[in-house]
């Protein structure tokens, strides 16, 4: 009997070790898992698209010699002072509170040197970021922490946040560990308590109210500032159309790969759509309204490389935003700190307990001892380098496709590697003329 081979142990594809570990964790603690970042599941993404490049029918542009412009105007619909950026890669909203003051400073330094904008977050505007950001977008959030008319007026644009990709329908969350005296003061709350920001705005609901809210903000700022409306990737066709109807200058669309400082893992992994599926719907809404390129579209959620930038723009976006990638550029999750990640029972490139405020890289923390480790000047330089590289990569692809501006990239430059991506992105499956669902609507 013992001579026969045993059936080797076989893990269930349903009850995997990771799933079982989560069941045990839940049973032991009685609390759902909270973490930072965006979805970690495999999703159809920009990696599933390819550019065709030039051929006999399309001639390419010479690298380094023939111009391929990268600039973008934002807010040209109504704002007296629209924004002009050198590159179409912006820094997404991340709060002071979630991030340290020096990290916000570094984002401002790097973005300004690269010729782009940064964005505040759910914690008000700090001097670090205003002082170091040439172009700063001020978020108008349900919590209204720190909201005041002076900061509205010294912002370069205002972003009314309806939702974010990591948690469409959820509010902010900053746990007590990160509520230092300064964070507490900016938010008018006691130190050390959990802050669960509201998920809806306190003084408007629905698109008709939003129109009046935008009118009020425009009146307060004398119609100078571009007004963005940010939505999570839930119903992008209707959300985009309603934002346009409400008077937005810019629509910001965040897919489920977009990060958050902290929320329930179940929310991050199971609510919202991947950015690939969102972009065509938003672009279609703009086209149906005759507003494509008149109301600009900024997309975010899983943008990592110049190829991602180029693909998003070929699908019809005017610009992109990065959050997680910017933090990695600053030094987040660096394997150099592996021994410290091990002490936190995690590993580099997987660390996501940002809500605990123990970030060894000194970025997602309010602990002065930890954030002293982070050099905002060096961090800013690294971010600038990264933004420049992404821009060069996007230009390389655009020139190969024969485009003298990133905005001239178009869906016809793209094919998809699999049926799912072809259907979501609305581009043909490679080697075919087949766009699944194209004749059947979305």
């Amino acid at each position: 009997m013992s001579d026969f081979p045993h059936t080797p142990p076989r893990y269930s594809a349903t009850f995997t070790p990771a799933i079982n570990a989560e069941i045990r964790r839940a049973a032991a603690s009685g609390i759902y898992d909270i973490r930072g970042g965006g979805t970690k599941r495999h999703l159809p993404h920009f990696d599933d698209l390819l550019f065709l490049g030039a051929s006999i029918s399309r001639y390419p542009l010479e690298g380094y010699r023939e111009k391929c412009a990268t600039d973008v105007w934002l807010g040209t619909r109504y704002a007296k002072k629209p924004i002009h950026l050198d590159i179409p890669i912006t820094i997404a909203g991340m709060s002071f509170g979630a991030l340290s003051g020096p990290a916000k400073e570094a984002l401002g330094r790097g973005a300004s040197e690269a010729g782009t904008s940064t964005t505040t977050g759910d914690g008000g505007m700090t001097e670090e970021e205003r002082g170091h950001s040439k172009t700063l977008v001020y978020q108008y959030l349900p919590s209204r922490y720190g909201m005041n008319p002076d900061d509205l007026r010294r912002a370069d644009a205002i972003e009314v946040v309806v939702g974010q990709g990591a948690k469409p329908g959820g509010g902010g969350m900053l746990l007590g560990q990160k509520i230092s005296d300064r964070v507490a003061m900016m938010r008018n709350l006691p130190k050390g308590i959990d802050q669960r920001s509201a998920c809806r705005h306190p003084d408007w609901t629905g698109p008709d109210d939003l129109e009046i809210k935008i009118l009020e903000i425009r009146e307060i700022t004398d119609w100078e500032k571009p007004i963005y409306v940010k939505v999570g990737g839930a119903r992008p066709y209707y959300d985009t159309a309603l934002a346009v109807k409400a008077g937005a200058d810019v629509v910001v669309l965040d897919g489920m790969q977009g990060g958050t400082a902290a929320t329930q893992d179940v929310f991050i992994e199971h609510v919202g759509m991947p950015i690939l599926a969102c972009i065509p719907q938003a672009v279609k809404a703009l086209q149906d309204l005759g507003m494509h390129r008149k109301v600009q579209l900024i997309v975010s959620g899983g943008i990592r490389t110049g190829a991602d930038v180029a693909k998003a723009m070929a699908m019809g976006a005017d610009a992109v935003a990065i959050g997680t990638a910017a933090l990695v550029a600053l030094g987040d999750n660096d394997p150099k700190l592996e021994s410290e990640y091990q002490k936190l029972n995690t590993t580099a490139d997987a660390y996501d307990d940002w809500h605990e405020g123990k970030d060894p890289a000194g970025i997602t923390t309010q602990d002065p001892e930890l954030f002293k480790r982070f050099d905002p000047i060096l961090g800013g330089r690294r971010l600038k380098n990264y933004l420049k590289v992404m821009t060069l990569e996007a230009q390389t692809i655009a020139r190969a496709c024969g485009k003298n501006h990133l905005h001239n990239l178009e869906p016809e430059d793209l094919v998809a590697l699999n049926v799912e991506a072809a259907a979501m992105a609305g581009v043909p499956l490679a080697g075919t003329t087949w766009i699944p669902g194209r004749n059947g609507g979305f």
Partner: protein, 230 residues
């Protein structure tokens, strides 16, 4: 007095004229706005010690983000009156719709009539005195400041309350999660007396007629045993 005919000259011209007085030394401080016809965003973002009377009824967000000014609305106010007020005083002679004084960070909002639902939602330091009743979900997630209600409060008063202090003279239909009645101490009577005086309610009510409500602080840090409160 400077009389501004809103119907004739329009909203943009009104707010621009009021904003032009920010940081300016002027004796052009007394304003009257007529023919309001329920317009939205009247006198928003004012930042000067002006005395503004809005004759009639207003739409959404009248006096939004006010700083320094005293703004008196002779009629009723639409949703979000004095939202996010920073300082100064806003007085509504009639009733106020939803979200009156939402997220207000300072100053005083007086409503002589009733206020609808979500009055004082997410208030962050503003003082609100309502001579009549307030609607449901008022003071939801209220962070700081004072709410004084001479009449009754609707359902779920002070749900998920932080450190705002609530005083109600009449009945409270129900308290929201984590909101409890608290003892009235001498400092509360003193604060109330001052609020009633500033809220043009002296003689209408006495401090000892009020009950105080505040946060039980059980939801300040997450505990699974309190999850049923949400």
């Amino acid at each position: 007095m400077h009389t501004f005919d809103l119907a004739a000259r329009g909203l943009r011209e009104l707010n621009q004229a009021l904003h032009a007085l920010r940081g300016v030394q002027t004796n052009e401080t007394v304003w009257e706005i007529v023919n309001t016809r329920g317009s939205h965003a009247i006198a928003v973002g004012v930042d000067a010690p002006l005395d503004i009377t809005v004759r009639g009824t207003t739409g959404y967000y009248c006096a939004g983000m006010n700083k320094q000014a005293t703004i008196r609305i002779t009629g009723s106010a639409g949703p979000g009156v004095a939202e996010n007020m920073m300082s100064g005083t806003v007085i509504v002679e009639g009733d106020a719709s939803q979200y009156a004084g939402a997220t207000g960070r300072g100053g005083l909002l007086v409503i002589k009539g009733n206020a609808s639902s979500r009055c004082g939602i997410s208030m962050k330091g503003i003082d609100i005195v309502v001579h009549g009743n307030i609607g449901h979900m008022s003071c939801f997630m209220a962070q700081s400041g004072h709410m004084v209600v001479l009449g009754d409060a609707g359902d779920a008063l002070g749900d998920s309350l932080y450190e705002a202090k609530l005083f109600v003279r009449g009945k409270v239909k129900s308290l929201g999660a984590d909101c409890i009645e608290k003892e009235m101490r001498p400092e509360h009577y003193e604060a109330l007396e001052d609020l009633l005086r500033r809220g043009e309610a002296t003689g209408k009510a006495r401090p000892e007629e009020f009950r105080r409500y505040g946060s039980a602080r059980k939801l300040y840090n997450f505990n699974i045993d309190n999850a049923s409160a949400y």
